[in-house]
C-alpha cells in the first residue's frame, strides 16, 4: 500500500542505502508510462513485480523486476473521457493496493477495480459514483483484511462526500458512511462520543447547514485512510464544504473538514473532530493521520499525528479525539490557533471572506500548508518529514449557482508565495519540541510524497524534476538526480529479487500546481486552476510534461 503500512509511516527498515553511500546512487532502469498528466501514485512492489497506475486513463502496468522492469501486462479500464471535465485539479491517481492475489485501484470515472495480480485479468469492477454529479475518484484505497475503503472527490462541484467499504473478494458494497446529512447516513449511532462539546449533538450533519444544503455539502474523502489494528478503528479526514464562498452556507457545515474514527468492520463512528467549522478557505482535512504510540510527558500516548492543510501539525489522542497539540508549521494569517480546552479554531475576523469583497494575504492559501502529499515518520529519528507548499492568496467572494456536475465555488482566487518566502519546503518536524529540526527551502511547492529508511535517509522530488536524497538527521542533501519532468509522485524503496535495495519514483508534472504545464493553461490569467496559476507562471519554463518511472540503486 502507498502508506507502506496501516499506520502510514512510510518508513522502510531497509538500510543498504544509507547516509554513507547514497551519493553513489545510479539509475537502474526506467519505464515510460505514455501518459502526460500529473503522476501522484506510489509504485507498489509485490514479490517480483512492480505495479504502477497512471493518471487518467488509469492504466495499470505490471513490471517484471527480474527482467529490467519489462512490462508483463497492462490493464486498461478505459474510463469515460468525460470524467476529465469534472476532475478539479488535474487527472491524478494516488496509487493501488494489494490484497490476497489482487491489485485494487480506483478510476477517475468512479469505479473500483480488482485485477488478478498475476494475469492482469479483471476480477470485479464496481461503480461507486457518477460523473454527472461531479464525482470522481483519485485516492488510493486502503485494504484491511477483506475490506476495501474508498472515498470520492469533487468538493469543487458540490458533491456530497462519502467513504465506502467494499468486500475485497466480491466487490460488493458493505456500507457507506456519508460525510453530511442525517446521523443514520453518517453511520453515527450510540457509539459516537466526540471529545469536544462543539462536536456533540444529534443530526449535526443536517442542522449545521441551511435547509437541504447538506445534499450538496462536500466533505469528500479523497485523501488517506489509516488503520489501528489494536482497536480495529480506521481514521480519515473529510474535504471542504460545498460552495467555497462561506457566506453562502451559514453554519458549521458538519462533517466537512473533520476527522472521523470508525469501526473498521461496521463503519460505526466512534468520534469526530471538526478541524475547520464553517471552513472559509478550502482547508480540507483529508491529510494522512499517522497512527503512532509516542512518549508524551512521561506516558505512552496512542496518538494520531498529521500536518494539516490549515497550517497546524495536530496531535490527537486517537482513542478519544482530544487535541493534544496543534502547532503552526508555516506563517498563518487565517487563524490564531487552536484552543485545546474547547477544540475551537480561532479564525481571524479580518480575513473573513464576503461576497463582493477581496481579502488579501490569506495564509495558508486554498491548497493549504500541505495538501495530499504524504509525510513520513522515522522511529529512529522520531521526526516527521513534511513535504509542503508555502503560499498565501487573495480571495474574492462572488455569487454562485448550483448546476449539477459543474463547479460550485463562488470565489476568485489568486495565489502567491506566503510572506515573500519560498513557495515550498521539505522539513523535519519534532512533535515533542513542536518545532522544525531542519528545513530545506525550495523555490517551487514541494508536491511529492516522501519516504524514510533505516539508513537514515529520506527522499523527495521537486516540481522542476530534481529527485533528492537527504540525511534524515541533519537535512543535508546527499545526492540528487534530474528527472525528465517535474516530480509530484510518492517515492518508495524496496528489496529487489536480487536482494538489492532500490528506490523508485514516478516523474510527470501536474496535479493542482502543475496543471499549468500538464493542461497547457494560460499563465496570463491569475485565476487559472482555481488561482494556482498565478503562483506557478514560471513552471512552464522549468519543466515539461511526461510520465516516467525512475528506479535507482547502488552500483
Amino acid at each position: 500500500m502507498p502508506g507502506r503500512n496501516y499506520q502510514a509511516t512510510r518508513y522502510s527498515g531497509l538500510d543498504q542505502i544509507n547516509t554513507g553511500n547514497a551519493k553513489d546512487l545510479k539509475v537502474a532502469w526506467t519505464f515510460s508510462t505514455g501518459v502526460n498528466r500529473g503522476h501522484e501514485a506510489a509504485p507498489l512492489v509485490v514479490g517480483d513485480t512492480m505495479y504502477v497506475v497512471t493518471p487518467f486513463p488509469n492504466i495499470l502496468y505490471a513490471l517484471d523486476l527480474k527482467n529490467g522492469g519489462a512490462a508483463k501486462w497492462k490493464y486498461q479500464p478505459e474510463p469515460a473521457s468525460a470524467a476529465q471535465g469534472v476532475a478539479c485539479c488535474d487527472l491524478v491517481n494516488r496509487g493501488c493496493v494489494f490484497s490476497n492475489g489482487k491489485i485494487i485501484f480506483n478510476t477517475l470515472d468512479d469505479h473500483t477495480i480488482a485485477v488478478d495480480a498475476n494475469t492482469g485479468k479483471e476480477i470485479w469492477k464496481t461503480k461507486l459514483g457518477d460523473i454527472n454529479h461531479g464525482e470522481t475518484i483519485t485516492m488510493a484505497p486502503l485494504v484491511v483484511k477483506d475490506k476495501v475503503y474508498v472515498g470520492n472527490s469533487g468538493g469543487e462541484l458540490g458533491v456530497r462526500g462519502w467513504l465506502t467499504c467494499l468486500d475485497s473478494n466480491s466487490g460488493k458494497t458493505l456500507w457507506r458512511a456519508w460525510s453530511t446529512g442525517s446521523d443514520a447516513d453518517c453511520l453515527i449511532g450510540p457509539d459516537f462520543k466526540p471529545f469536544y462539546k462543539k462536536d456533540q449533538g444529534k443530526e449535526l450533519g443536517v442542522s449545521t447547514w441551511p435547509p437541504n444544503r447538506w445534499q450538496i455539502g462536500g466533505g469528500t474523502v479523497w485523501g488517506w485512510v489509516t488503520y489501528d489494528p489494536e482497536s480495529n478503528l480506521i481514521y480519515y479526514g473529510t474535504g471542504n464544504p460545498g460552495v467555497w464562498n462561506p457566506e453562502l452556507r451559514p453554519g458549521d457545515n458538519k462533517w466537512a473538514c473533520s476527522i472521523f474514527a470508525r469501526d473498521a468492520d461496521t463503519g460505526a463512528a466512534k468520534w469526530a473532530y471538526q478541524m475547520n467549522p464553517h471552513d472559509e478557505f478550502d482547508h480540507d482535512g483529508i491529510n494522512e493521520n499517522l497512527v503512532l504510540d509516542l512518549p508524551i510527558n512521561g506516558q505512552t500516548r496512542k496518538v494520531l499525528l498529521a500536518a494539516q492543510r490549515n497550517g497546524y501539525v495536530y496531535m490527537w489522542d486517537r482513542t478519544t479525539g482530544e487535541v493534544l497539540s496543534a502547532t503552526p508549521f508555516i506563517r498563518i494569517t487565517s487563524s490564531f490557533g487552536v484552543d485545546l480546552k474547547t477544540g475551537e479554531l480561532h479564525t481571524n475576523p479580518e480575513k473573513k471572506p464576503m461576497t463582493g469583497k477581496t481579502v488579501r494575504d490569506v495564509a495558508p492559501a486554498a491548497p493549504g500548508a500541505k495538501d495530499w502529499q504524504p509525510c513520513a515518520w522515522s522511529p529512529r529519528t522520531n521526526l516527521l518529514y513534511i513535504p509542503h507548499q508555502n503560499l498565501a492568496m487573495d480571495y474574492q467572494g462572488t455569487e454562485a449557482s448550483y448546476i449539477e456536475g459543474t463547479p460550485y465555488l463562488g470565489v476568485n482566487v489568486k495565489m502567491y508565495a506566503n510572506g515573500n518566502a519560498n513557495r515550498g519546503e521539505f522539513c523535519a518536524w519534532d512533535p515533542f519540541q513542536k518545532k522544525k529540526v531542519w528545513a530545506i527551502q525550495e523555490d517551487l511547492p514541494v508536491w511529492s510524497g516522501t519516504v524514510v529508511t533505516a539508513g537514515d535517509i529520506t527522499f523527495y522530488g521537486t516540481m522542476d524534476g530534481w529527485f533528492k536524497c537527504v540525511n534524515a538527521k541533519t537535512g543535508d542533501v546527499l545526492w540528487q538526480f534530474k528527472c525528465g519532468s517535474g516530480i509530484i509522485g510518492q517515492p518508495v524503496t524496496y528489496k529487489g529479487p536480487d536482494g538489492k535495495q532500490y528506490v523508485a519514483v514516478l516523474a510527470g508534472v501536474g496535479g493542482w500546481p502543475g496543471a499549468i504545464v500538464a493542461a497547457d493553461l494560460d499563465p496570463r490569467d491569475p485565476t487559472g486552476a482555481l488561482g494556482f496559476v498565478n503562483a506557478m507562471t514560471d513552471l512552464p519554463q522549468k519543466t515539461t510534461k511526461g510520465g516516467m518511472l525512475y528506479v535507482f540503486a547502488l552500483p
Binding site: 473521457s81 474574492q396 449557482s401 448550483y402 448546476i403 493542461a519 494560460d522 490569467d525 491569475p526 485565476t527
Partner: protein
Amino acid sequence: MKTRVLMTICCAAALVSCKREERGFRVAPPSAEKIETKSLSDLHPAGSSVAPPTKNDYRENAYAVSEGEKLFAAYNCVGCHAHGGGGMGPALMDNKWIYGSQPQQIFSTIVEGRPNGMPSFRGKIPDFQVWELVAYVRSMSGLGTSGASPNRSDEMKGPTPPSSMPKQTPQNSSLPKSAERPPP
C-alpha cells in the same frame, strides 16, 4: 432544485435583457439548427469539399459581450475555464482551439458538449444566451470587434495592491559617491 436554479438564472437574465432591449442592440435569437458546417479537421479524404453556407444571426456588440461575461459566471463556465486561462477545462484566451473558433463552432461546443469533458448545455441555456456566451468567449482571445470588448477586466488582476506590498528596501543609493556619508 437544479431546474429551479436554472429557471431563476434564465428569468433574471431575461428580465435584464428586456430592459436593455430599448437600446436596440438585441438581435433576434438565432436558430441552433444546422450550424455544424465548418470542418473541424484539416484532413479531407478524397479531396476537400466546400461546406454549405449557414445562416448565422450572431452579432458582436458590446451588449452581447458584456451579457456573455455575466452568463459565463452564472452558468459556472468560470469554474472550469477560469477567466480564460483554464483549469478543469482548456484555456479559452489563447490561440489554440480544439473544436474551432468560429461562432457556429463555439455554439456547437456549448450546446452539444465535447467528448473530453465539456458538458452539453442543450436545453439548459436559451439560444440567444448561447450566442452571447459565444461573443464573450471569442472576445477573450481578442477575436471579434475590439470596439465591442470591454477595455478593463472585472476580475482580480494586476500587481500586489499597496496594502499588501512588502517593504521594498532601496538597494542602490542614487546619491553621488561624494555625497555618501563616510563610515564612522
